[in-house]
């Protein structure tokens, strides 16, 4: 890194940890993100809600450069990462628990966690293993079990635990509550809250489960077919009649 870039890094202390500006992403000729602006400040939990197919997962993956933004810029910790290779973006300490969990099915839970720790060369592996086992006691009992044999909820826990193993500065969670029993959802949301409060971890959370997400988050964005249509504090959005009508119908789960 050159001196100039380092200086930008210092100046960027006030800049959001993650900033997405005017990002357009296409699948072939079909546009999926139509110019998205989002900021995530250090220490925040920010949520992105929106209906199925709105483009939330596309944004999560675009941050990692796969698919790549065709227009716009993405900056992380003062650095332009728009054109950086995916694995190098990950090495800047952004971790993602992606849509569909993507557990390595033919590896053990332990090996999955080792994979999560690979960017910092296993430096704090034992300590971090201990930590995620405390957060998710269910995983501790299953360390030698193959990932593919876990239940949905356990796989979700593993996906989050794997993301935590790299001690990320920014944690991206794509629908961690999808398909899980309410009790487990609550557990997972409590853990997110704790990680944010105790460790100051910055979290960007994508959810369809808008009620819980907005209650947990400091700020939120609403996405509709590739556009950000609303933003505000979690509380504001929860009270917004349009949000209530569109995303909170049917009560509080």
């Amino acid at each position: 890194m050159s001196m100039a870039e380092q200086n930008i890094g210092v100046k960027a202390a006030r800049e959001p940890l993650l900033s997405v500006r005017g990002v357009k992403t296409y699948y072939g000729n079909i546009i999926a993100l139509k110019g998205v602006d989002i900021d995530v400040n250090e220490g925040e939990i920010v949520t992105l809600i929106g209906a199925n197919g709105a483009g939330k997962s596309t944004l999560m993956m675009t941050i990692f450069g796969n698919p790549r933004a065709r227009e716009g810029t993405i900056r992380f910790a003062g650095q332009d990462i728009t054109k950086m290779p995916t694995h190098e973006i990950a090495r800047l300490s952004i971790a993602q628990s992606p849509e569909g969990r993507r557990i390595f099915a033919r590896m053990t839970v332990f090996e999955n966690l080792q994979m999560g720790a690979s960017i910092n060369g296993m430096a704090h592996f034992n300590e971090d293993l201990e930590r995620v086992c405390t957060l998710f006691p269910r995983l501790k009992e299953r360390l030698q079990q193959r990932g593919g044999t876990l239940s949905g909820g356990e796989q979700q826990m593993l996906a989050i635990a794997r993301a935590l193993m790299s001690r990320p500065k920014l944690l991206l969670l794509d629908e961690p509550s999808l398909g899980l029993a309410p009790l487990i959802v609550k557990q997972i949301f409590d853990i997110i809250k704790e990680l944010n409060k105790k460790d100051g971890m910055t979290v960007f959370l994508v959810e369809q489960n808008a009620y819980h997400a907005l209650r947990l988050a400091h700020r939120g964005y609403v996405m509709v077919t590739g556009n950000i249509t609303m933003s505000g504090t979690g509380k504001e959005l929860l009270e917004n009649p349009q949000v209530r009508a569109a995303y909170l119908e049917g009560g509080h789960h």
């Binding site: 033919r106 590896m107 790299s166």
Partner: protein, 306 residues
């Protein structure tokens, strides 16, 4: 019984060589879902590399210990063949990644033709023999009818080398972070990259490992038969590929098992039936096994990679 025992020894020796080549097919298929048709020719090329190093070491440098010479040849040939494997992937396959499915396959056929022609032009079309190496045998058993069952030093060297290298390789894949990254890319390349794994580098590594093991096979082949020709990539290559499919393509133990089975079928068929039809026998068994076990003996039923 004595014939059986002798053929068992011969079959396992040949099978070890097929197994070593088959690993390269299976690993590459596992990680990028492509049949590397050039792999058999990489094996052939490595046998030539071994041959040349052998001549240099024994006739020019005057190394008289065959074991020492073999060891040096093995190491040098592994290094050089790995470089070839790396370069082939870099030049002929990587630029085509992400284009239509058949493109890398066609490119692989091109590389295969290139390699065999290159060797033909550089080394001539005739068989290249080496001076006979390691001629001692251990007579295990002599029957009254005068039939002897013998285990040659060559066969011991081949089986031992294979066993040692497979153990090292197994350790590498199962226990090291490089091997873990390799397996991760095999299962989900996109996720691996999200975890900071350089997928291109890992694919390169897979080609390097496959070529290194093929070069061990090449050196052993040369040791066993004492002769190699530019056309020797094809048949052993097809058989090793058959072994990989038989064992379950994508499965490493499957590749070794498949190699041993093909080696055994081939030698037993030659001994008991007719030598002309040994290849037909091996391929027929493959067809039969695949009818009943479409994903091979140790393979997992797998959805197609995209």
């Amino acid at each position: 019984m004595d014939i059986f025992l002798q053929q068992l020894i011969n079959g396992l020796t040949l099978g070890s060589i097929y197994g070593l080549i088959a690993i390269g097919y299976t690993m590459v298929f596992g990680i990028i879902g492509m049949v590397n048709f050039a792999h058999g020719d990489v094996f052939m090329l490595s046998a030539f590399i071994a041959l040349i190093f052998f001549l240099i070491l024994t006739t020019w440098l005057g190394i008289s210990s065959i074991v020492l010479a073999l060891l040096i040849v093995l190491v040098l040939s592994m290094i050089l063949t790995s470089l070839w494997g790396w370069a082939i992937e870099r030049i002929a396959y990587r630029p085509l990644r992400g284009s239509f499915r058949l493109a890398p396959l066609i490119s692989a056929i091109g590389v295969s033709i290139f390699l065999s022609n290159f060797v033909q032009v550089a080394q001539g079309a005739r068989n290249k023999p080496t001076a006979p190496m390691v001629r001692d045998v251990i007579v295990l058993y002599q029957s009254e009818a005068g039939y002897t069952v013998a285990l040659s030093y060559k066969q011991i060297i081949i089986m031992l080398t294979t066993a040692v290298l497979l153990t090292i390789f197994w350790y590498l894949v199962q226990k090291t972070s490089l091997g873990r990254a390799q397996r991760a890319c095999e299962q989900d390349r996109k996720m691996a990259s999200l975890l900071g794994i350089d997928v291109d580098k890992t694919i390169s590594l897979t080609f390097v490992i496959g070529a290194a093991l093929a070069s061990v096979a090449g050196t052993m082949y040369l040791l066993y038969y004492g002769v190699v020709s530019f056309a020797d990539g094809f048949v052993p290559g097809v058989k090793a590929f058959t072994a990989a499919v038989l064992g379950g393509i994508g499965s490493l133990p499957g590749a070794v098992l498949g190699g041993l089975i093909i080696g055994l079928i081939e030698t037993f068929w030659s001994a008991y039936f007719s030598i002309e039809y040994k290849d037909v026998a091996a391929f027929s068994i493959l067809a039969i096994v695949l009818i009943f076990m479409p994903s091979g003996i140790l393979g997992r039923p797998e959805v197609e990679k995209v």
